[in-house]
C-alpha cells in the first residue's frame, strides 16, 4: 500500500467525555483535551496503523474517494495536529 501511514504513539491513554477526549502521553507527561473529531481519529488508530484510506473507512464509514474535500482536509488537519504533539507517528 502506498501513501503515508499513521500509527498511535506508544504509551498513550485515551478517555472519552461528552466534550471530547482527554489523552495522556506517558513519555512526555503531557495531558491533552482533544475535540471529538481528533479524539475519534486517535481512537481509530488504537486499532492499528492506517493510511488515509483505512482511516476514512473506520472514521466515516465511506471510502476516501467518496469524501468531500473538507472532510478529507479535516482528517489531514487532525492528523497533523496529533503529530505535532507527538501523539501519532507517521511513516511515509
Amino acid at each position: 500500500m502506498s501513501g503515508p501511514r499513521w500509527r498511535i504513539a506508544p504509551e498513550v491513554r485515551l478517555a472519552a467525555w461528552e466534550d471530547g477526549y482527554t489523552v495522556f502521553h506517558t513519555p512526555s507527561g503531557d495531558t491533552h483535551l482533544l475535540d471529538p473529531f481528533a479524539g475519534q481519529v486517535l481512537s481509530c488508530l488504537q486499532n492499528g496503523p492506517m493510511g488515509l484510506e483505512a482511516l476514512a473507512l473506520a472514521l466515516m464509514d465511506r471510502p476516501l474517494a467518496a469524501l468531500g474535500s473538507d472532510e478529507r482536509a479535516a482528517m489531514e488537519t487532525a492528523l497533523a495536529a496529533l503529530e505535532r504533539v507527538h501523539l501519532v507517528l507517521v511513516s511515509p
Binding site: R13, W17, D19, G20, T22, T31, L33
Partner: protein
C-alpha cells in the same frame, strides 16, 4: 490528647523548644515558634487537634520566626523554615500565623506524593464529597466556610488529597483561610464561629482563619467518596444557578492546577479519569449563602 488539654505553659515550652507535634488528618507536623501570635492562634484554632508526644516521627518539621537584626525594629518580618530551608521570602510580622498555614500547605504539596493533590476545597455530607476547584478570589473559601457551619463536614479549604488506590478523598480539617469582607460575612452567618486574629496586608487586605468545626476535626480520619465537582463563582445579586460543566474540560483544569499532577504521571491521569467519571460536574453561580446552602443540601439529598 487534644491541644486544648495541654497546659498553656507546656504549649509554650514545646513551641519554644523541641516543637509542638500535631496531627492533621494523614500528616504529623512538628511546629516551632517563639512568636506569641502563633502560639495564640494554634491554641485557639487547633484546639481539637490531637497532640503527639515525642519521640515521634513527624512528616514535616517547620518553624516560623522573626529574623534577627536591625529589621527587627524597623518593619519587622516573619520567616518560614521547612526544616533547614526557607522556600519563601519573608512576610510582614503580623502574617506569622497565615505564613505557618501557607507553609504547611506547601510542605504537603511538595512531598505527599502518595496522594494526588488537587487545588480544591473539599466538603462532605452523607458520605459523599464535593470538590470545589476555583482560582483565588472566586469565593470558594467563603462558600466552604459557610457550608461547614451548616452541617457539611470540612475536609480542606485548599487541598484535595485523592488516594490513587481507592479513589477516596482524605481530609486535614485545618483552619479555613478567609479574606476581607468574607470574615464579617461569616461572623454574621455563624456567630458561633471562632476566628484567629486578622493580619493586614496592603496587597490582599485582611486575612484571618476560621476554626474548623469540632465535628470535622473529630472525623479527620474518615475519607469520603467524591461525588460532585462544583466550580463556584460568586456573582453579586445573582440567583443560584447550577449548570453542567463539561467533564473533559474539568479534567484538564484539574491537571493544570493540580499541585503534584505532573509528579504522578500516568497514575495521576488515571486517578483523575476515575475521579471525573465518578462525579457530576457543575458550574455554580450564586450571590446569597442561603441559596448556596439550599442547592448543596439539595444535591446531598438528591443522590
Amino acid at each position: 490528647m487534644k491541644l486544648a488539654e495541654l497546659a498553656p505553659a507546656e504549649l509554650k515550652h514545646r513551641l519554644h523548644g523541641a516543637g509542638l507535634c500535631l496531627r492533621t488528618g494523614p500528616f504529623t507536623v512538628r511546629i516551632r515558634s517563639r512568636i506569641p501570635a502563633v502560639e495564640e492562634a494554634l491554641a485557639l484554632l487547633y484546639a481539637e487537634h490531637p497532640v503527639l508526644e515525642e519521640p515521634v516521627f513527624c512528616d514535616f518539621t517547620v518553624r516560623v520566626f522573626r529574623p534577627l537584626g536591625l529589621r527587627r525594629f524597623f518593619r519587622p518580618q516573619v520567616r518560614f523554615a521547612f526544616d533547614d530551608t526557607e522556600p519563601f521570602k519573608p512576610l510582614p510580622y503580623d502574617h506569622a500565623f497565615p505564613m505557618l498555614e501557607w507553609g504547611l500547605n506547601w510542605a504537603v504539596t511538595q512531598h505527599a506524593h502518595w496522594f494526588l493533590i488537587l487545588h480544591a476545597a473539599v466538603i462532605e455530607k452523607g458520605g459523599r464529597a464535593a470538590l470545589l476547584p476555583a482560582p483565588p478570589g472566586s469565593g470558594k473559601s467563603t462558600l466552604t466556610a459557610a457550608l461547614v457551619q451548616r452541617g457539611w463536614r470540612l475536609l480542606s479549604d485548599e487541598l484535595a488529597l485523592i488516594d490513587p488506590a481507592s479513589g477516596l478523598v482524605h481530609g486535614l480539617a485545618r483552619p479555613v483561610n478567609l479574606k476581607n469582607a468574607s470574615v464579617e460575612l461569616l461572623r454574621a452567618w455563624a456567630p458561633e464561629a471562632v476566628f484567629g486574629p486578622p493580619a493586614r496586608d496592603t496587597r490582599k487586605g485582611l486575612v484571618a482563619h476560621m476554626r474548623p468545626p469540632a465535628d470535622s476535626v473529630a472525623r479527620m480520619d474518615e475519607p469520603a467518596r467524591p461525588a460532585w465537582v462544583i466550580f463556584p463563582r460568586y456573582v453579586p445579586a445573582s440567583p443560584p444557578r447550577l449548570t453542567p460543566h463539561a467533564r473533559g474540560h474539568a479534567l484538564l483544569e484539574f491537571a493544570r492546577n493540580g499541585f503534584n499532577y505532573s509528579v504522578l504521571g500516568e497514575v495521576g491521569y488515571d486517578t483523575l479519569v476515575r475521579l471525573i467519571a465518578a462525579c457530576d460536574c457543575y458550574d455554580f453561580t450564586y450571590s446569597r449563602l442561603t441559596d448556596a446552602l439550599a442547592v448543596f443540601d439539595g444535591l446531598a439529598h438528591g443522590g
